[in-house]
Amino acid sequence: MENKAIVCKDLTKQFGDFKAVDKISFEVSEGEIFGFLGANGAGKTTAMRILCGLSYPTSGEAKVAGFDVYKEQEKIKKNIGYMSQKFSLYDNLTILENIEFYGGVYGVSRPEIKERSAELVKTLGLEKEAKKLVGGLPLGWKQKLAFSVAVFHRPKIVFLDEPTGGVDPITRRQFWDMIYEASANGITVFVTTHYMDEAEYCNRISIMVDGRVEAIDSPTALKERFNVASMDEVFYELARNAKRTSD
């Protein structure tokens, strides 16, 4: 049997009367690139925060890397990487210092940090900037760096919350090359995005509408099911019935 990186069953998060996440169920296999789609306000970020151990679910079950989201959040945290919507490296630290800090808190040893960060800076083509403050980098570079930091400690799963927002098309392509590379190294990728061309890059995608998962399959299968030519149209078919207004 194939190992599951993420298993969700009837996962719900309620804020008062408002069901931000409403009984979602899905599974993500190890090594898969899983696209988590949905309109603004559909509940993607809330669901992702639960899976990352940042927020308690109200009901339902979920296991991430084999650990329970109610009781074993700290174990989950050891096994995942996370890149949030907000850029979350320290602007007033240099590239190397940021890598050193995040590598260090995940328990990577100092010699290994040194070796791996030198390698990383080289592949990113940032050798000249390595000792400059991150705050001064262009957004595209920042995002690529943030992703590299999120997978620096070689987690089992990496969660990416709209990683390519506001980034130019070329950088987006490079970004997806990096995602494929991480996936090839055995890292499961869980990614949210608003770009439907990016959805095509995923092995499988789910589309959330009003807190529920309305469809889940490979992009090709979804296009066939709705009998349309592009993911844009699939998304439109599903999301146009949404009751929640986008923020």
Binding site: C52, G53, L54, S55, Y56, Q73, E74, K77, K78, I80, Y82, S84, K86, F87, S88, L89, Y90, D91, N92, L93, E97, E100, F101, Y102, G104, V105, Y106, G107
Partner: protein, 374 residues
């Protein structure tokens, strides 16, 4: 421990990279210690007096000279009527009116007594109250002079009663100089600001820019994060305290009479308590603005209730009870005792216990309230 080292390394890098905060942390103690004690002085000098003289006699002239030469009063005007005198008070040019009725000299000489009228502007309460008291002393003195002139030949026995006067000595601050009272207080104020404000703002800033979420998604443990924030600011606080003590010695020549070690022990524990409070505030506030306001609210109460400005002994009972519940009160007391009086552990041991309790309670609340998962 390894993880903690990475966190500390990062915090120190950030602190030393922020030149503004760094400058503030070191310029603040020096500037505050030099400026505040000079400006904030409760000793009242230059009370402005309006002297309304209806008598124009040699005695009323003597009285005015006596008041003018006392060193505390400035005769700003000698208008012809009380109403004209009031105008000076209304314009804020005078604090007190002294009105001498007509027939002052005649009544004094013939009947041996005469009333004068003193009116004080109570808006600046402290100044006019103290001015009023000073003026009374001057009048009493004037009375004694008169007694000697008129009564001595006839009624010598009554004189003995007025010969008993109170002479006071200000122990531990012999010249009642305000700086001795202020300077140790300002040292406390500095530690309070660093402990209460800077930590709170630092952590809430991480919330604002979103890095706290990144931290919360790592396996960093609660205690590691909290120690990672407390230790650097504790060290900064101790450095600022040392700078403050040095300025106190170099500028004012005040060297703690008591043990430096005891003083540092208190500063160390006090800082831990205040850092815990800053941390606690940061768990409630989501923005730096909120943190500022919460911290400011507590700081105001702490400072005003602590006996920094006014003696806690003159507070009503309920206020004194509140005052006991602020760590600042205990620390100010101890710093003054150690610096000025040279008290040792025996005298201030109880305060140490209070501060330790504050440190434990505030930090425990902060740790309890800090959540990695919401």
């Amino acid at each position: 421990m390894k993880v903690l080292r990475f966190i500390l390394q990062k915090e120190f890098r950030q602190i030393f990279r922020d030149k503004t905060i760094l400058a503030m942390m070191f310029a603040m103690p020096i500037i505050q210690l030099i400026i505040l004690p000079l400006a904030a002085n409760f000793e009242v000098k230059n009370v402005n007096v309006v002297y309304v003289d209806h008598d124009h006699s040699s005695y009323s002239q003597k009285l005015i000279n006596k008041i003018g030469s006392s060193g505390y009063f400035q005769i700003v005007a000698t208008p012809s009527s009380y109403l004209k005198g009031l105008e000076f008070i209304e314009k804020g040019e005078a604090d007190l009116i002294l009105e001498i009725p007509s027939g002052f000299e005649r009544n004094l000489v013939r009947e041996g007594s005469q009333k004068v009228n003193i009116a004080a502007d109570a808006i600046n309460g402290t100044k006019s109250n103290i001015g009023y008291a000073y003026l009374n002393v001057v009048l009493a003195d004037f009375n004694r002079d008169l007694d000697i002139q008129f009564k001595l030949p006839k009624q010598a026995p009554t004189l003995s009663s007025s010969l008993i006067t109170i002479s006071s000595t200000n122990w531990y601050n012999p010249r009642a100089e305000y700086k001795y009272y202020m300077v140790p207080g300002i040292l406390v104020l500095l530690l309070t600001l660093i402990g209460g404000f800077i930590t709170a703002l630092n952590i809430v800033r991480e919330k604002e820019i979103g890095t706290i979420e990144q931290i919360n998604v790592t396996p960093i443990q609660k205690w590691q994060f909290i120690l990672g924030k407390l230790i650097p600011f504790w060290i900064v606080g101790m450095i600022v305290f040392t700078v403050g003590l040095t300025v106190m010695y170099l500028v004012y020549g005040i060297f703690p009479k008591g043990s430096l070690a005891v003083l540092y022990l208190f500063a160390a524990i006090y800082l831990i308590a205040l850092l815990g409070m800053g941390l606690l505030i940061s768990t409630f506030a989501d923005t730096q603005l909120q943190a500022m306001f919460i911290a400011f609210f507590f700081m105001m109460i702490f400072m005003l209730m602590s006996g920094f400005f006014t003696s806690t002994d003159s507070m009503p009972d309920w206020a004194r009870a509140i005052s006991e519940f602020t760590p600042v009160t205990h620390f100010i007391k101890v710093v003054r005792l150690i610096v000025l009086k040279g008290s040792g552990m025996k005298e201030v041991g109880k305060e140490l216990l209070y501060l330790i309790i504050f440190a434990i309670v505030l930090n425990a609340l902060a740790i309890y309230n800090y959540r990695k998962t919401s």
